[in-house]
């Protein structure tokens, strides 16, 4: 600015005009605040906080089970029997992985375990297990270059002093013998479902575990699912009213989902110890269809109830403590997958609990992935009460019944809309992130939660937690959450459905004598 210009300019002193122009837009804040408060007051009049009503604090669930402390003491030496798809999945969950990094791995601590032994009748599977044993992504000591020993028969593994505990992920027809022998050998046991192939075997296994001092964990990893713990709490608080009907489903529509797992796989019969694999099962020439898809055959498994309903049953059993039903009827057939299978691909069963005054139903198809009216994905359970119903999967949504007496006033006043969830729980958002509010403005956030699958924050593998719980009990004593008693209830219930289907009759359970009638 030149000296000449300076002279032309009057001293810029803020005058009245400047003051008005400078603050001209400030009153907008007053309008904003007044508008915001009016909107908030309107929304509040439309809000209903169910949690305050039922005195429920769910924050504790967000942090439960996620113990990330490193495990002290000596490393537990594990042996795995069966490294098929599920066996490999378990190893992967425990950090024995070919991948350097796994989603959610930052939430997992070193379990202080060594995969010391691998047993499989299939050379390729055994070699995979051995390869995986050499690197554990959760272990800081992974550089110690462990290499699992291969055992060709599980009994050799049980005789080994180097093995403390075994994971059993074989086909079901082998579970009974291996569990009993492992218990006798004093090896701690993590056994995949279904516990046994037949009802009779379930008694033998229970007796063997009870007679031993080993720690037994049954492989229902969803015992660690937060949503189920929260669902149990909500139901204990009687939010749903009188519960008389629980529906569970399986809906699959892929060849792999229907256990056609031999397709596109070249297996050299000389790589498989077929006779050992068959065990006590009827003689049969080597069949890749049976070897990889044993779930399709009653000779090796209990079919759909044992494989798929087992998950649903354990979810419901851990919430309701239902135990074994009084009776089961079942129906089904092989209607779609016209291959060599003898287990049904469409199946329905009804489980009666007269002492609890409720029915548990299961419907399954391997020829449609639609879940019908409730398009919220597979494994959604519906729990119907006289005041509200719950849609339960990894999330929880509770909708009021339009004719509910308890919620009548709130429905009439518009605070609850029966078509909208008035209580939602979505694990993993933020600690205590619970949406129990119904109002027009908040519903948007709720709807977002319903459609998203949350992948960040505290996501953690449930199988990792389930095995960790077993390892904790081995180290410190105690009984894991899915004990032999739960496993027994699961096996009997599922196999009662199989028996009802095979015998075409209503199968009943005598709780006093613990016998099937």
């Amino acid at each position: 600015m030149s000296g000449e210009e300076k002279q032309l300019i009057k001293t810029p002193k803020a005058g009245r005009r400047d003051f008005l122009k400078g603050l001209a837009t400030i009153p907008v804040f007053g309008v904003f605040i007044a508008g915001y408060l009016a909107k908030r007051s309107h929304d509040r009049s439309q809000q209903y906080n169910i949690f305050a009503d039922i005195d429920l604090d769910l924050e504790e669930f967000e942090n439960s089970n996620i113990g990330l402390s490193e495990q002290p003491g000596d490393s537990i030496h594990l042996g795995i029997i069966g490294v098929g798809s599920r066996g490999k999945n378990i190893l992967d969950s425990l950090g024995f992985s070919e991948h350097d990094e796994k989603d959610g791995s930052n939430n997992c601590a070193d379990l202080n375990i060594t995969l010391a032994g691998v047993c499989d009748v299939y050379d390729v599977a055994a070699e995979t297990g051995i390869a995986l044993s050499q690197f554990n992504q959760y272990s800081k000591k992974s550089a110690r270059k462990n290499k699992a020993q291969r055992f060709r028969h599980y009994q050799e593994m049980l005789e080994s002093k180097d093995i403390n505990a075994v994971i059993i992920a074989t086909p079901d027809h082998w579970h009974e013998q291996i569990v009993i022998d492992a218990a006798k050998a004093g090896k701690h046991i993590y056994c995949e479902k279904c516990l046994t192939r037949t009802i009779e075997e379930a008694y033998q296994v229970r007796d063997a575990i009870r007679a031993s001092r080993v720690v037994f964990q049954y492989g229902h990893q969803n015992r660690q699912q937060n949503a189920y713990h929260v669902a149990r709490k909500i139901i204990e608080k009687n939010v749903l009213g009188n519960i008389t009907l629980i529906k569970t489903h399986t809906n699959r529509n892929t060849p792999a989902g229907a256990w056609l797992r031999h397709l596109n796989r070249n297996v050299n019969p000389s790589d498989v110890d077929w006779q050992q694999w068959l065990g006590k099962a009827p003689q049969q020439p080597f069949s890749p269809s049976r070897f990889f898809g044993w779930q399709k055959f009653f000779e090796y498994s209990g079919g759909l109830p044992a494989h798929m309903f087992s998950h649903e049953y354990d979810a419901i059993n851990q919430i309701f403590n239902l135990g074994i039903p009084k009776s089961v009827v079942a129906s089904g057939g092989i209607f779609y997958w016209k291959d060599d299978r003898n287990t049904p691909d469409v199946f329905q069963a009804i489980f009666e609990y007269p002492n609890r005054e409720l029915l548990l139903t299961y419907d399954a198809t391997l020829a449609s992935s639609s879940t019908g009216e409730y398009q919220s994905g597979a494994k959604t359970k519906e729990i119907f009460g006289s005041d509200a119903w719950m849609k339960l999967s990894m999330d929880i949504n509770v909708m009021a019944d339009r004719h509910s007496k308890r919620f009548k006033q709130k429905i009439d006043s518009g605070m609850i809309q029966p078509s909208q969830p008035f209580l939602s729980y979505r694990p993993g958002l933020k600690p205590g992130s619970l949406d129990a509010i119904t109002s027009a403005s908040e519903r948007y956030y709720a709807s977002q939660g319903l459609v998203y699958t949350y992948q960040g924050g505290k996501k953690i593998d449930v199988t990792y937690l389930h095995v960790k719980e077993w390892l904790d009990c081995i180290r410190n004593g105690g009984t894991p959450s899915c004990s032999i008693d739960h496993a027994f209830e699961d096996a009997i219930t599922c196999l009662m459905a199989t028996k009802a289907y095979l015998e075409g009759r209503k199968v009943e359970w005598d709780a006093v004598s613990e016998k099937i009638i």
């Binding site: 300019i9 810029p12 837009t25 915001y36 958002l429 949406d435 403005s441 960040g456 996501k459």
Partner: protein
């Protein structure tokens, strides 16, 4: 004679009014978004970030999956929106508010670009093709940045007066 040089641009009354009204409306939008998020204890940007698509999806999803980063993103978002809203309405550090708002909106645009074949689960009332409301609002902020009005109608007027007084002294 120039009374004092508040402006290298000079606007007609209608031009100035339009610019200020547009500034207030965008400011209102930002302030309401920020305050609503601040007062909603359940709000987090994770769901938005997680559904990101296109070439930057990896970065946005990484933010959502890293709790510490997510927390920072949430705080920056909430307070960024509030301060940008206040700045635009009051005409306080107007050009900084315009630029920051435009950057924020551009990030939202990159996170959920309305490209062919991309769909998102949050409710969208219209169909977008390349151009969405974020892009329009961002461009409006660029215009407001270039055609500044905060130093004429806004608190920036006092700042400018103070600066000029210093120059003269």
């Amino acid at each position: 004679m120039v009374k004092y040089n508040l402006n290298s641009q000079s606007y007609s009354t209608f031009q100035l009014t339009s610019l200020v009204v547009l500034r207030i409306l965008i400011g209102w939008h930002f302030l309401n978004e920020g305050i609503s998020k601040l007062l909603n204890p359940y709000w987090t940007s994770s769901a938005f970030l997680n559904e990101s698509q296109w070439i930057f999806a990896g970065i946005f999803k990484w933010m959502a999956a890293t709790p510490a980063i997510l927390n920072i993103v949430d705080i920056l978002n909430i307070w960024g929106q509030i301060f940008i809203g206040i700045g635009l309405i009051a005409g306080f550090f107007t050009r900084t508010a315009c630029l920051s708002g435009a950057v924020l909106l551009f990030l939202y645009y990159l996170c959920w670009p309305p490209l062919i074949g991309f769909s998102y689960s949050a409710p969208q009332e219209v169909n977008y093709l390349f151009v969405d409301k974020n892009l329009i609002e961002m461009t409006a902020l660029v215009v407001l940045f270039l055609f500044n009005s905060g130093h004429i109608i806004g608190v920036d007027r006092f700042i400018l007066l103070r600066k000029q007084r210093k120059v003269i002294q």
